[in-house]
Amino acid sequence: MFRDAGLVAGKDLRIELRSHVTMQQVFPFAVLVLILFGIALDPDRGFLGRASAGLFWVTVLFCALLAIQRAFTIESADGGRDALRLSGLDPAGIFLGKAAAIAVQLLAIEAVLAVGVVVMYGTEVTGVPLLVATIAAATAGLAAAGTLYGVLAAGLRVRETLLPILLLPVLSPVLIGATEAFEAALGGAATDGWPWLGLLVVFALLYLAFGTLAFGTLLEES
């Protein structure tokens, strides 16, 4: 399973490195959203600084949708889905590999966004351990749930529009938990954020476990 996961993750990341979609489209999109939030809400940096946790994670959610769509678009082209089913790869390995590749892309996007938030919104970073742990857990949850719903929607003709409708409500616990934990970390009271981090860890573990078990069936039936 882990060998197959490594194979799939390596393949997906190589495709992204060659296609430059994340670099040339998703990164600029993420920065653009940050700028638009800044323009739309308030040029006063004090307000933006206070709202930066929520704005950061809403932007991450939008970028996650793009990354998940992309991860399954490459499998939809030219019979890739049947080829995957015939490949002999363990479905759990495919799930973990695709989730890992999405997570790596999200981490890169989050790094860019973090710099953007600090520079544009004047946010001060204080509780670094909680921030790092929150990013890790939230990213794992986003990638796992996204991969699961991604394969569910991938077999449908209306996948581009259906995926956000299916996925955004499911990801609301991640948005809430990550925003609360970030606010606690940015506010300096890092201890208040740890219970929210627990929620994120549970969410990620649940979806990783469920995805490992259910991905094969979804790949076959959807």
């Binding site: 194979l7 393949k11 190589r14 490459i74 030219d78 049947d82 080829a83 015939l86 490949s87 790869l89």
Partner: protein
Amino acid sequence: MEPAVQLRGAVTLLGRFPALAGIDLDVAAGEIVLLRGPNGAGKTTLLRLCAGLLPLARGEGRVLGHDLSDRRQARALRTRVGLLGHATGLYDELTVADNVRFWGRAAGADAADVAAALAGCGLDGRLRDVPVAALSAGQRRRTSLACLVARRPELWLLDEPHAGLDHDGRELLDDLVQRAVDAGATVLLASHDLERAEALAHRVVTLAGGTTGAEPPPGRGRVGPEEVALVP
């Protein structure tokens, strides 16, 4: 020896709709069988059923000893077959070598298998490091064929394998098929290029209206217009 493919009254489903009108088919191990028939006769559907990609809705079916009515067995079968279909399953952004390496390693092939597949399909030169997006249709077909060869399947399921290939490509394909059969593989192919495919095949089975009619096991001789024995 157990036939490589044995279908009795096989019906599958395309979505919710039944397909194939109760196919009877036997393919012996090491045999090359050509499926022919008009568009819509069910050739591609039959190949996908034999690959374990479509469910067996009615009848009986065993491929390489796997019971097609058992989903687990049908899935396990997939690692032992290679399907060359209309779609190539290739990733445009990756090079020819990357694609063959990925699909080969997915099936357990090592670096030597991948190198041999690339060389065997004439892709070990300049084309090796070319992104698939930059290939012609024929070169894509060759790359797809190399992916299949790297997997070293026991049952080759070839759907219009000569389509898009130039003369050299067709010669190469026929040679690869012959060598695979010499090494013990079985081949079921569907083609409209009858002259070339009949030269390659041991037997021809005609599909009409999703059925082969009452086709007896191979080796029992000619049974009428449904079947022509090309090789004794």
